[in-house]
Symmetry: C2
Subunit: 614 residues, 2 copies
């Protein structure tokens, strides 16, 4: 057993944009062993260093970019990195994971964690190098789309840099603005607006060091096993490589799980037009990965060749985007979905929140809560694909009706009232991912109790186990609390902190992951340790949220999911018993039912007293 986590140098680069200063500190061995990397270290630092009740768009909010012991190594699907901050959309904890060249570059520059605070006096981008940080004028980049921004920076600094940046949506503080690296997004929760509030257009990293690996032999053996597992599993060797995440659509629509028409109906026959086979046949021109080494290449470069959106190209759309702009808005037109996806990537907008916000507005329009005076003449009927791009432009620039849409469903519903809260499809202000928990009960807990709000994976992801494995009863509550917690802990530790792509998780065994992390970090982690680590991260995220005002009452779902049943389809009549599910989940997590906080014995068992207090 190594004396320290030799596979991570533990260096934290701290940048203060207000003072144009930077400094490097070292993390303690205990912190590194206890939180590993990525999401774990992000949660720890956010809890420890962000003053309570900080305005998410205030100078004091932190942007924490973190990598893990597998980043920039030969481990498969390891080009991931994590952003942790306080979300302007939810007001709570936000972590966001993405792939690409940024994370590996950061680690190759000798940095495990980059913490940014303050606000630059003018538009700025950071150039992070092994020997320091440059604060560069980004006045010329301000207003530029994300593709041009990256092209512009690479034309100055060469192609080997890692970049993450914001588009006009982030500059204009849209609370669901995202960050973009290459064509991948740190999508959810408004990290882009936090960047914008700091006058920070981009973070650019130049790094060429080979990162340290604690135990080369052990690591190499585990990596070989990992590639074998990915190769042997049909999901990661066949389905994802061919169809990407859009492959979900075909089975999920059969089970009635893909939400349609703002979650009012079961999938109609038109949904066939936007299944993965249709998208693949009509539009895909290339299979891509976010960065090597990735044998899966789930990313699909898609091109519209005909019609009003001809000529547009995007990476994606992911299943989530096909849901948000497609089925959720009643739009069964692949080219319109691709055009909206392309726009969001270029202007830096989260596709899920944008699409679900538009779907909410469509339902408000059809119910007469808003009319063409509010929508500036636009017919917001479900299925009207002509409104997508004009609305998105208005959102990004916060113009006219776009100012309302840009607030997201929660604030729109608060303003409109008249019962619209019931069909504002969010949890804690974050618009829900595309899985109706009336057909997959575990997802009710994922949305209701997840630390970043209505996200479909940060709080666990049970669709594989409940629906696609065929082994569990998807309508039953039995054992679902335990399942949600397990998937959450596995995800947050092995994948989001390790760091590995969650899509590889369909194939990789816990043992192999633990071995890769042990080999890379030089510190032994068993499969069980991984789950303990995830539990610990969940505890800190929860404590953070409670400190920011979370109460058990906010661990809830939209009224539509709690009180309305579907009148047709595979999930007809299904109800969600959230109180029972929640009670069990609190027990699994060791959370107090009154305060919502992790209980003392849990805190103590996880060795978190020194952080969360006695």
């Amino acid at each position: 057993m190594a004396d320290q986590i030799s596979g991570m140098n533990g260096r934290v680069l701290r940048v203060d944009l207000t003072r144009n200063q930077f400094a490097v500190t070292e993390m303690s061995r205990t912190d590194r062993e206890s939180f590993l990397g990525g999401r774990g270290l992000g949660a720890l630092l956010l809890y420890r260093e962000l003053p309570p009740k900080t305005d998410p768009l205030g100078e004091e909010n932190l942007l924490i970019f973190s990598t893990g012991p597998l980043a920039a190594t030969s481990a498969p699907c390891s080009s991931r990195f994590c952003l942790t901050t306080k979300s302007p959309l939810t007001g709570f904890y936000l972590s966001s994971i993405s792939g690409g060249y940024f994370g590996p570059a950061l680690r190759k520059a000798g940095i495990d964690v980059l913490v940014i605070k303050g606000r630059a006096s003018r538009p700025t981008y950071l150039l992070v190098k092994e020997d320091g940080v440059e604060f560069r004028d980004a006045s010329g980049l301000w207003g530029m789309a994300t593709d041009h921004t990256q092209e512009f920076i690479r034309s100055e600094l060469g192609d080997s840099v890692g970049i993450t940046c914001i588009g006009p949506a982030g500059e204009n503080l849209v609370p669901y603005a995202c960050l973009i690296n290459e064509r991948r997004a740190l999508g959810r929760g408004g990290g882009g607006a936090v960047m914008g509030s700091k006058n920070l257009k981009a973070v650019v990293v130049q790094g060429v060091q080979k990162p340290p690996v604690g135990d080369e032999g052990r690591f190499r053996t585990a990596v070989k096993r990992a590639f074998d597992e990915i190769q042997k599993n049909p999901v990661t060797s066949k389905t994802f490589p061919k169809y990407g995440s859009a492959s979900w659509m075909t089975p999920l629509k059969e089970f009635g799980i893909t939400p349609c028409k703002n979650w009012q109906i079961s999938p109609p026959p038109e949904i066939e037009k936007i299944t993965f086979e249709s998208i693949r046949d009509d539009f895909v021109v290339k299979d891509m990965h976010c960065a090597p080494p990735c044998p899966i290449k789930c990313s699909k470069l898609t091109l519209v060749r005909q019609g009003q959106f001809a000529g547009l190209l995007t990476e994606g759309p992911e299943y989530e985007t096909i849901y948000s702009f497609g089925s959720c808005c009643g739009i069964y037109d692949g080219s319109a979905i691709i055009a909206a996806d392309d726009f969001c990537d270029r202007y830096g907008l989260d596709t899920i929140s944008a699409g679900v916000s538009i779907a909410f507005a469509m339902e408000c329009y059809e119910r007469g809560l808003i009319d063409t005076r509010v929508t500036e003449g636009m017919e917001l009927s479900f299925g009207n694909n002509h409104v997508l791009l004009p609305l998105l432009h208005k959102i990004v620039y916060q113009k006219g009706f776009g100012r309302m849409l840009a607030q997201g469903t929660k604030r729109m519903a608060e303003r409109l009232g008249k019962g619209s809260e019931a069909f504002a499809m969010h949890a804690k202000g974050m618009e829900l991912g595309g899985y109706d928990p009336r057909g997959v009960k575990g997802m009710a807990l994922v949305y209701a109790c997840g630390s970043r709000g209505g996200c479909h994976h940060a709080g666990g992801f049970t669709v594989l186990a409940e629906v696609l494995s065929g082994k569990l009863d998807r309508f039953s509550d039995q054992g679902k609390a335990k399942l949600v917690k397990e998937t959450r802990d596995r995800r947050s530790a092995a994948f989001d902190s390790g760091m590995l792509c969650a899509f590889a998780g369909a194939a990789l065994s816990d043992g192999t992951i633990a071995e890769m992390i042990s080999g890379a970090s030089g510190h032994p982690f068993s499969a069980a340790d991984i789950y303990t680590l995830g539990d610990r991260i969940g505890c800190v995220e929860r404590a953070f949220n409670v400190r920011e005002g979370l109460t058990p009452a906010l661990d809830t779902l939209p009224g539509r999911l709690l009180n309305e049943v579907l009148s047709e389809g595979p999930n007809k009549g299904q109800k969600i018993d959230l109180p029972t599910l929640k009670k069990e989940f609190y027990q699994e997590c060791g959370w107090d039912e009154v305060t919502g906080l992790p209980k003392k014995e849990k805190v103590s068992a996880l060795g978190l007293n020194r952080i969360l207090g006695e």
Copy 2:
């Protein structure tokens, strides 16, 4: 004196797309000495090898890419290359010059001229390397915009390749579709449609050889002088670096030379909104060159930050584009012009022909020759900037009213009749550049007698001498025929064949240019030789056009320029005496007034008997 043109290896790469074959041949020493490179060699090969009356979009048409002895050397502004083909817009000779990485890469691959014929059986792109040619499947690229096409290819082949490619406009055979390399265009005359007709999406070149230089010492001395001359001249060291070609706008509008409202009026006060100072202040984010070595950096990367076009970015707009989409359409909105420019670059459309065709349609609309039934509901009034992007999309995809606009002004007027021919602002089918010859008489000849039709520079360019130098009377016919021929010959030889950027021509002395070419090629060229070379090129271009059906009657101008006078402004009442100008110009060129052909004695004096016959 060297025994051969040692600075050019004279290699011609011939590619047959129909047969998937390629071969390398050598040009003779005589051909190289007589035609030097670029436009010269292109004209020679087109004349010699293209069967008469070939359909421009037929399999037999040739695409000839050529470089010159200065390409890929350290000569300033030498990243140029030439495309020669038969134009689908005019049915006559077409040469088109552009800058960027393609030309230098071709030369570095050891190729002076690339001749492409035939038609691929499926969408294809060519990868040209030192050791051969790959015919690569471009099915996935078909339908893709030019920016994505290049990104896609570079992601596969690395960033060091040179690329020229077409967008959807070329694929759809729009007769004024262009080619794009990086963000520069081989703009005029429809080379993009010729590419499209051959199922050829892109030509990609990988080359790393240092090209041969005949006399290093002589060359280096001349290059140093050239850089000095550029540095000392305020146009090339101050005006162009700051404002690019948009710098023309301010003086030219003062002289009433910038055409407005489809050449109906003198510049109105609103033109101040689109002068170079306005564009610079409001939009420019970076000064760029097409490729090194270029100390001028005339290219302006511009970004729209506000309004309906916010987020769009383009390289440019050039003066010509500000004229075509701006003043010619009565649109004095920089952001709308930039948006149209960006669209044309991405979809591969010539901005001048597109804008002037729209301006023509606007006049037809205002005169009642077409109405909203034809325009599909669009109000085509001058100044309506909302129609630009929808119309351009229709043109590219040849949809509805776009099918008519895509034909260009000549064919539109032939179809509409009712006197519209008089204000269809083209010569030989090519829409005119932005210089009203009623205010600068030499330009009447440039347009009327230029070998590629209504282009403002291929047939000479007299604006500098007639207007900006302050030395000549711009309204006089005196000496203009000689001036046009001199500028034409200097341009076609020194710049388009040398190859050098014409913008450097404002500073470079003939002696310096001749010395650079002599040093690079290893063959002595005097300043006088340059003009003889230009004369020779002009002769061959002319002979080609006459063989294709050109008669002296077609050396003419739109009725508006011959019969209408401006009722106000600096050029009020000015008339063009084209017959007198033409007579003198024919004499200068040695052209027969009946046949239009170069006379025998001219052919003989230029040593062209072996090519053009006795």
